[in-house]
């Protein structure tokens, strides 16, 4: 009788070990923005779950779209995407619904992030597609020495006074939104067919006024310093502000009166997520104290478990919405960035 019990115990032990050994070989392929998965944060997760995390960084929404949609999302398990961009992934069936119960740490989030149905775009037909992670508005960073009065409008980017002193972001969708804001169009996210030439010209004008376009936060800081820039559009918001301050640059931060575009980045799982359990653990882990602190203190980004010292609730914020056509914006932006003139840019 005792022998039988021993056998049962042995088998039970082996069965317990089995999933562990399988998990030890688990690989989680993460697609994220710079600062979202710092090496120390990743290492802690790897040790805890005996897994291997492969992080790929993206620096623009277009880049992310290309990487995820390539091969029908087969190359990644989880990715961090803003709520507006998320919509096209859902429409194309590139993401899978998330089992929120597998992410216990959502209970640590501030109430407004727990009420996912109140955040536009997260819940479709009762299914949750993403878990909020961080957010920021995209204001204007300016050099206090060169710009004595804080810029109050997004049009400052077009101001001839700052020609060759403006650093802008290399991203099609946001650039068109900014141009629409600067032209006072009713919505930065819905460009009417007649408005395209106007916006293209506006962006060519922007190109002619800027010193350089950046993609990553680090690059933006380097350009801002090397070019002695006066003004920079902060696509990464407080993250860039923090980096510049850390680099010893005397900068200010302004929210334009048109309203600062703002993004809420969330973790989503691709349709081909290999190990949803591991992906869920990753998302849950990032809602813990340590990763939250890294986000807040090192990256200068808000987290969803504590109030943000960076985010100004009183300022005018325009949360990103899905654009009428991200593909079109990116295509035209590519031409504008390469230096084409309006006629060429607007060619079909």
């Amino acid at each position: 009788m005792l022998l039988v019990e021993w056998r049962i115990l042995l088998i039970a032990t082996l069965l317990c070990l089995l999933p562990l050994s399988v998990q030890a070989e688990g690989v989680l392929r993460v697609l994220a923005w710079p600062g979202y998965a710092d090496p120390d944060v990743v290492k802690e997760f790897e040790q805890r779950t005996h897994s291997k995390v492969e992080v790929t960084y993206i620096e623009s929404d277009a880049d992310m779209w290309r990487k995820v949609s390539e091969g029908n999302a087969a190359n990644f398990d989880v990715f961090a995407v803003n709520t507006a961009e998320l919509q096209r992934y859902i429409q194309h069936g590139l993401v899978s619904a998330i089992n929120v119960a597998a992410i216990p740490n959502v209970q640590r989030q501030l109430p407004r992030f727990q009420q996912r149905q109140n955040i536009p775009g997260l819940v479709h037909e009762g299914k949750t597609y993403a878990i909020p992670y961080t957010y920021s508005e995209m204001g204007l960073i300016y050099d206090r020495k060169q710009v004595t009065t804080p810029p109050d409008s997004i049009s400052a980017m077009w101001n001839k006074r700052y020609q060759g002193k403006v650093v802008a972001y290399n991203g099609g969708v946001h650039s068109f939104s900014l141009a629409a804001q600067s032209l006072g169009l009713p919505s930065p996210f819905h460009i009417g067919e007649q408005q395209w030439p106007q916006l293209v010209n506006q962006l060519i004008a922007l190109r002619r006024n800027v010193s350089a376009f950046y993609t990553g936060p680090d690059e933006s800081v380097a350009l801002f310093r090397e070019r002695h820039a006066a003004l920079m559009f902060a696509n990464f918001g407080s993250q860039q502000l923090q980096l510049l301050k850390a680099a010893g640059v005397d900068v200010g931060y302004a929210i334009p009166r048109e309203g600062a575009l703002a993004w809420l980045d969330c973790w989503a799982m691709t349709r081909s997520v290999r190990d949803p359990q591991l992906a869920a653990r990753w998302i849950s882990y990032l809602l813990e104290d340590m990763p939250g602190k890294v986000l807040l203190q090192r990256q200068g980004l808000a987290n969803t478990t504590s109030p943000s010292p960076y985010f100004n609730n009183k300022a005018r914020i325009v949360w990103l919405e899905p654009a009428e056509s991200e593909e079109r914006r990116d295509k035209l932006w590519g031409r504008i960035l390469s230096g084409d003139r309006a006629a060429k840019v607007l060619q079909p």
Binding site: L31, E54, V55, T56, Y57, I58, E59, D63, K67, G164, I204, R207, R208, V210, S211, A212, F213, E226, R227, G334, R335, L337, S338, G339, D340, R341, A343, K344
Partner: protein, 570 residues
């Protein structure tokens, strides 16, 4: 001798020799192999440095071409006053230059006015050249190679970072690893009019530079931060462009010091890793960028398969192995010779001992040697002498014992035992030759009286004198023995007749007749003799003795003195 000390010594000597030779071989192999690897590493470093200088030279050549173009009078003129004809001529010139330089993707003249609008642009498209014109010309003022170059003094060269060219409208150079080199065009007053830009095909340039390197060499290039730009495995290159930085210092940890600026060159062995199909020796050198550049420095490297280095070491190993074997055989022969030489005196001693054991003269010993063998020889000689002396004395004692066992101590005549032996010999001989032997048993008649009357000294003197006289009275071949007391036996070899025997017996009686002088007087003595003859009176020694004894008693019983024969046997 098969497992003799000589063989053992020879084997020992040979083993020591072979060990020493093998150790020396192994050590020199290790040393030479390291030297070989070291020299191969040095030569690889040298090749890498040469490659680095070639890169420098190539960049300088591009710079010279840029300077030639920027100082061309037409360039300045068309920038100040755009002129279609002049632009066309410049396009021809650009095309010629691109034909001569296969690593040029593109040459452009860009004006500082109009937001960096391209004025003349020639693109490579496979084997042909495309002169881009009109609407296809683009504004490049927001690119560093324009905005930064415009800040430079005349003649200075700007070099961009090496990146994948994502600018639209490029031809062969689109989405290719590219770097831009540019120089400003300035008016006589120093006003920046525009820039001349050459887009360089980075892969093409480096492949050209590496053409005369051996086929199994592999080329590496990394930028100042260590981002890998050229690697045999293309998936390792331009990782930053795909969002996954692949750094030299992560792929090849020994390069960390190089990238961090601690050293200017590194050389190391790299085992097979992903991206490298075989272990290699790798050298990387820092290449400071002398041009105006955000890059600051580059790292160029070469790798060659470790197998090619090891091939030399293997050859060396074979050579050393053969030498070791050769020297071992030589060592074995020398060891045998030495062992023989060393053991020759020992052999002498062994021979001497053998001779000595057989009682033969020992011959010459190596006693003059001053070593252990000399000492052994001297000890042996000493022992030999001592044993010799002891043996002689032993022989003497043995002789004495033998004498005592076979002779009568007083008269020195053979005793009963010897008589018995001689009698048996005589019987044997007589049997064989059909001859005769006679036993004469003699008893002194009045010996008891002399002994009692004159003392034992007189008795002894009588016995000795009787013995001498009997001895003198017979032939040397005859035996005179004393049986004990006053009994003597004479064994005669030969007489065939009783008459002859009787004569001899009477002669014996007569020789005693004169008496024996003793202390000035004369002791009168007489004898009774009983005679037995072989084979008449017996055929064995005891029969003959008993018969003679009985005959002697019969004579004694008849009265004093006389001779009597034994009775014939039944």
């Amino acid at each position: 001798m098969r497992y003799g000390i000589a063989v053992k010594l020879a084997l020992l000597l040979a083993a020591v020799g072979i060990c020493a030779s093998a150790l020396t071989g192994a050590y020199s192999y290790w040393l030479s192999r390291n030297l070989l690897v070291e020299s191969s590493q040095k030569s690889l470093v040298a090749s890498t440095q040469v490659l680095g200088r070639r890169v420098d030279t190539s960049l300088e050549e591009v710079a010279r071409n840029l300077q030639v173009l920027s100082s061309h009078p037409s360039v300045r003129r068309t920038l100040q006053q755009p002129n279609a004809e002049m632009n066309a001529q410049l396009a021809e010139l650009f095309e010629l230059m691109m034909k001569a330089n296969p690593a040029y993707f593109q040459i452009r003249l860009i004006t500082a006015a109009n937001f960096g609008l391209e004025q003349v642009r020639v693109d490579r498209q496979g084997g042909t050249f495309i002169k881009v014109a009109d609407d296809d010309l683009q504004e490049k003022g927001h690119f560093s190679y324009v905005s930064e170059t415009l800040q430079l003094p005349a003649g200075a060269i700007y070099m961009s970072r090496i990146a994948i060219n994502h600018e639209r409208g490029a031809y062969t150079g689109a989405e290719q690893p590219t770097m831009q080199l540019a120089t400003p065009v300035r008016s006589a007053k120093g006003e920046a009019l525009g820039v001349v830009v050459i887009n360089l095909d980075v892969d093409g340039l480096f492949n050209l530079l590496a053409t005369d390197l051996p086929n199994d060499f592999r080329l590496f290039l990394a930028n100042g931060q260590g981002d890998i730009l050229i690697h045999p495995d293309r998936s390792k290159t331009f990782g930053f462009d795909r969002g996954q930085r692949v750094l030299l210092q992560d792929e090849f940890p020994p390069t960390r010091e190089l990238v961090e600026g601690v050293v200017n060159q590194v050389v190391f062995q790299q085992p097979t890793t992903d991206g490298l199909v075989q272990p290699v020796v790798m050298a990387l050198v820092r290449l400071p960028v002398k041009l105006h550049s955000e890059e600051g420095q580059l790292f160029v490297g070469l790798a060659k398969p470790l197998a090619s280095v090891k091939e030399g070491a293997r050859h060396l190993g074979t050579l050393i192995m053969v030498s070791v074997l050769g020297f071992s055989v030589l060592g074995l022969l020398v060891a045998l010779l030495l062992a023989r030489l060393a053991l020759r005196p020992l052999r002498q001693l062994i021979d001497a001992a053998n001779l000595f054991a057989h009682g033969q003269p020992v011959g010459v010993l190596p006693t003059a040697r001053q070593d252990e063998i000399g000492e052994l020889a001297r000890s042996f000689q000493h022992m030999h002498l001592q044993i010799g002396e002891q043996l002689s004395s032993l022989h003497a004692s043995q002789e004495q014992l033998k004498q005592m066992a076979q002779y009568d101590a007083l008269t020195e005549l053979p005793n009963r035992r010897m008589l018995q032996d001689r009698l048996e010999v005589a019987i044997t001989r007589a049997k064989r030759q059909g001859g005769c032997a006679s036993v004469l048993f003699i008893d002194l008649d009045n010996f008891k009286e002399i002994n009692d009357g004159w003392g034992h000294d007189a008795g002894d003197a009588v016995l000795v004198a009787v013995a001498q006289r009997l001895r003198r009275a017979v032939r040397a071949t005859d035996t005179v023995a004393r049986l004990g007391g006053d009994e003597f036996v004479v064994l005669l070899d030969g007489p065939d007749t009783e008459r002859d025997t009787d004569l001899i017996a009477n002669k014996l009686i007569e020789c005693l007749a004169p008496g024996i002088p003793f202390q000035g007087g004369t002791l009168r003595i007489a004898a009774s003799i009983g005679i037995s003859m072989f084979p008449r009176h017996g055929v064995t020694a005891s029969q003959l003795l008993m018969a003679a004894d009985r005959a002697m008693y019969l004579v004694k019983a008849r009265g004093r003195g006389g001779v009597g024969f034994a009775m014939l046997q039944d």
